[in-house]
């Protein structure tokens, strides 16, 4: 048995642990959406919808956004707040572009007749992208507050922490998006099949 006698509460800031726990919750949420998706897609009425090419562009933008924040974090770590600010702004702008791109993709699908309720594949597409988008919007609020901290030159350690938290969250959402993309484009179908065979 582990001897816990000498254990101290770790030196990680509470906000970071809090974010970690929150990401576990968000991870659970998306995992459940994905399970529901893979159960539902085995029903006969499922008609996979063509993924708009725009999604690839959006993915690229989201990757850029993550890179920009990573860059900002590295700058903040060496106390280069001007560069950090540029990174944060670039990350924010590209995240907005991603969201706008997602909306555009919805419009394209709608225009092509792929409505929300016409097939479960469509329903899931709109639902899952919406949930992901909402999480990104929530992140943008946090990013805005971090940017404000930099602008009013708050304490460096605080800025570093905020930027780091944003970056972790961004990377996490990017990861979730890549998984979702794999699911929506059908790349992971084989994997899903293997899982459902294991279950039944």
């Amino acid at each position: 048995m582990v001897d816990l006698r000498e254990e101290r509460t770790s030196s990680l800031p509470p906000a970071k642990i809090g974010l970690g726990v929150f990401l576990a919750v968000v991870g659970s949420l998306f995992a459940l959406f994905i399970s529901a998706y893979s159960m539902r897609m085995n029903m006969v009425d499922w008609r996979t919808l063509p993924v708009p090419a725009l999604l690839w562009f959006n993915t690229g933008v989201l990757v850029m956004s993550s890179i920009a924040l990573q860059w900002a974090q590295m700058a903040a770590r060496r106390n280069d707040m001007d560069v950090a600010l540029v990174g944060l702004l670039a990350g924010g702008v590209s995240a907005f572009m991603f969201l706008a791109g997602q909306l555009l993709a919805w419009q394209q699908l709608n225009a092509a007749g792929y409505f929300l309720a016409s097939n479960p594949a469509n329903s899931f597409f709109y639902l899952i992208t919406a949930v992901h988008g909402l999480h990104l919007m929530g992140g943008l609020v946090g990013l805005g507050r971090t940017t404000a901290k930099v602008l009013r030159s708050a304490e460096a350690s605080q800025i570093r922490l905020s930027v780091e938290l944003c970056t972790i969250y961004w990377h996490f959402l990017l990861l979730v998006w890549l998984v979702l993309l794999g699911l929506l484009t059908g790349w992971t179908d084989n994997f899903v099949d293997i899982c459902s065979q294991l279950l039944s």
Binding site: A15, V21, V25, L29, D45, L116, A117, S123
Partner: protein
């Protein structure tokens, strides 16, 4: 020689004065209403939960009146009966018990028991309460919307939940789902606090293996809730889309009152999987805090350390983990693949083992103790009786083939009321009688308390024990009136009437309890800081009720576990967790 993990910490330097980032209220509003102090939030949670719980109690009276005396009360029609059972179940499970154990007990006790000044994210904690309140208001509003609240049963199974054959199809179900979504968002905010506070804000010397079991119970339940509630969230969002936007996540091709609907292809079973992936952990989200509270009550009032502390901790964690792989035992007769039955029956019965260990350790704590039959102790004893009873009938329902004749009968109703209704409520009451002196500085009235205890315990037992036998007889649940049925003898109706009378009496006793809560606030005997002689940290605060920041200037330092009662060689019959070792340990009597 016993091997104990809680020996003393030598030479701990004094804790720093933790004046860091503590929120200070500036006005009456921010002190008592929009407060960020966990203790105030705890009281707000408790009062809100108990208020909406009273609504659910009244609903249960109406249900019992209808069941005991069918046809007598013309103001209850079948639609309303279904609305009553739905709202009663949903309120009791989620808006009362979950909110009270985690939001109420959790907020009050976690910071005090781990030696923190407050929760780590006080602002988020405050938001959590206000969103919970909003969820409760939305829920309560369904009583006043056209069509009334939903009558889909608390499980909200589609397709029935959103079709016109079920009452509350217009507004009721939509608002119910909206309220659940709000509740989950609010709970997540609170839950982050509870988890991170336990992980990060423990005072010096408070190792994980020195935490009182109450904290372990609430902590594990919160972790489970954080991971399980998303399933309900997903199910609610998808059901809401099915209802409002005509998607077919859960809705197959079906005929609604003779007309073919636009739905098609969906899977009602998918909803059930999602619902119970949340629903089963939910049972333990309610049970684990109760386990923790009962452990502490028994230990304090039997003046004896809890028996097998480490086993208790591992049992809590083990039950929490196992409860995520048993959900489909609620679906043995749902039409899912029959081979799932083998797996889920096995996991379900395995969970009985850690649960039984907990029961053994409680009664072994009583053994050779110094049992003070205070009101908290009485409630703890009642908890064990009802929990063992309900837990054992769980072995019937978990054992797949035995569940077949019993599922959806009154046996199930009796089982879950005993195990996750009465038993946790006994823990809630025991906890309130135990900690009320800390919260208010006054004792609850003893005579009223004993009256409340005996009527609640014996009355509730008299309602739910015989109910099992109606289920055995084959009487289905969710029937507003069994009517003329060949296999139901007349005596069963008499039994129903008896249970209804018992329910009314038990309900009345709760009014006495509410009166006691208010009366004792002003007239109760002054309690002092530590009326029970308890060793855990929350009883060692410099002020009672604890002031803002809990600990005055210096945070306490913890030298031992929370269960040093009747230590050989010690002067008193308990040693507070924060008492420095030199003063107590005579000749190394402590291992």
């Amino acid at each position: 020689m016993v091997d104990v993990p809680f020996d003393t910490v030598a030479g701990v330097p004094p804790a720093e004065v933790g004046e860091v980032e503590l929120y200070h209220p500036r006005s009456w509003w921010t002190r008592y209403v929009f407060s960020q102090d966990a203790k105030v939030i705890a009281i707000q949670y408790s009062i809100t939960a108990m208020s909406i719980g009273m609504v659910a109690l009244v609903l249960s009276w109406l249900m019992r009146l209808q069941l005991g005396f069918p046809g007598t009360f013309s103001f209850i029609d079948p639609n309303q009966y279904l609305q009553f059972i739905t709202m009663h179940g949903m309120i009791m499970v989620i808006y009362l018990l979950t909110a009270l154990f985690l939001g109420g007990f959790g907020n009050y006790l976690i910071p005090l028991m781990v030696g923190a000044r407050d929760m780590v994210f006080p602002y988020v904690n405050m938001l959590s309460y206000w969103i919970y309140l909003l969820a409760v208001v939305v829920l309560a509003s369904t009583f006043f919307v056209p069509g009334g609240p939903t009558g889909a049963g608390w499980t909200l199974y589609p397709p029935q939940a959103i079709l016109s054959g079920t009452p509350g199809q217009d507004w009721g179900i939509v608002l119910m789902l909206a309220s659940l979504i709000l509740f989950i968002i609010g709970f997540t905010m609170g839950g982050l606090n509870y988890v991170v506070t336990v992980l990060q804000a423990r005072t010096r010397g408070m190792t994980l293996m020195r935490l009182p079991l109450t904290v372990w119970g609430i902590f594990t339940a919160t972790v489970m809730a954080l991971l399980a509630f998303p399933a309900l969230f997903v199910a609610s969002v998808m059901l809401l889309l099915d209802r409002l936007l005509g998607t077919s996540f859960f809705m197959p091709t079906l005929v609604e009152m003779g007309t073919l609907t636009k739905y098609g292809g969906g899977s009602p079973i998918l909803f059930q999987h999602l619902f119970w992936f949340f629903g089963h952990p939910e049972v333990y989200i309610v049970a684990l805090p109760a386990f923790g509270i009962i452990s502490d009550l028994i230990s304090v009032h039997a003046r004896k350390n809890i028996f097998g502390y480490r086993m208790m901790v591992w049992a809590i964690v083990g039950i929490g983990a196992l409860s995520f792989v048993v959900w489909a035992h609620h679906m043995y007769v749902s039409g899912m693949h029959p081979y799932f039955g083998f797996f889920f029956a096995t996991t379900t019965l395995i969970i009985a083992i850690p649960t039984a260990i907990k029961v053994y350790n409680w009664v072994l704590t009583l053994w050779r103790g110094d049992i003070h039959l205070t009101i908290p102790m009485l409630f703890a004893l009642a908890f064990i009786v009802t929990f063992v009873n309900g837990g054992l009938t769980g072995l019937f329902l978990g054992n797949v083939v035995v569940d077949v004749p019993l599922s959806d009968t009154m046996f199930v109703v009796a089982h879950f009321h005993m195990v996750m209704g009465i038993a946790p409520i006994m823990a809630v009451f025991g906890g309130i009688y135990h900690w009320y002196p800390k919260v208010t500085g006054r004792m609850l009235n003893e005579a009223l308390g004993r009256f409340h205890f005996w009527v609640s315990f014996l009355g509730a037992y008299a309602i739910f024990f015989p109910m099992h036998y109606l289920g055995l007889l084959g009487m289905p649940r969710r029937y507003h009136d069994i009517g003329e049925t060949a296999f139901v003898p007349a005596s069963a109706h008499d039994l129903n009437a008896f249970m209804s009378v018992a329910a009314l009496i038990v309900g009345f006793a709760q009014l006495v309890f509410l009166f006691n809560l208010i009366w004792s606030l002003f007239k109760g005997r002054e309690a002092g800081g530590n009326p029970w002689g308890a060793a855990s940290l929350e009883w060692q605060t410099p002020e009672t009720p604890p002031g803002h920041g809990n600990w005055g200037k210096e945070l306490p330092i913890v030298y031992r576990w929370a269960y040093d009662y009747s230590v050989p060689g010690a002067a008193g019959d308990f040693v507070p967790q924060n008492e420095p070792p030199a003063g107590v340990l005579a000749q190394g009597a402590h291992p």
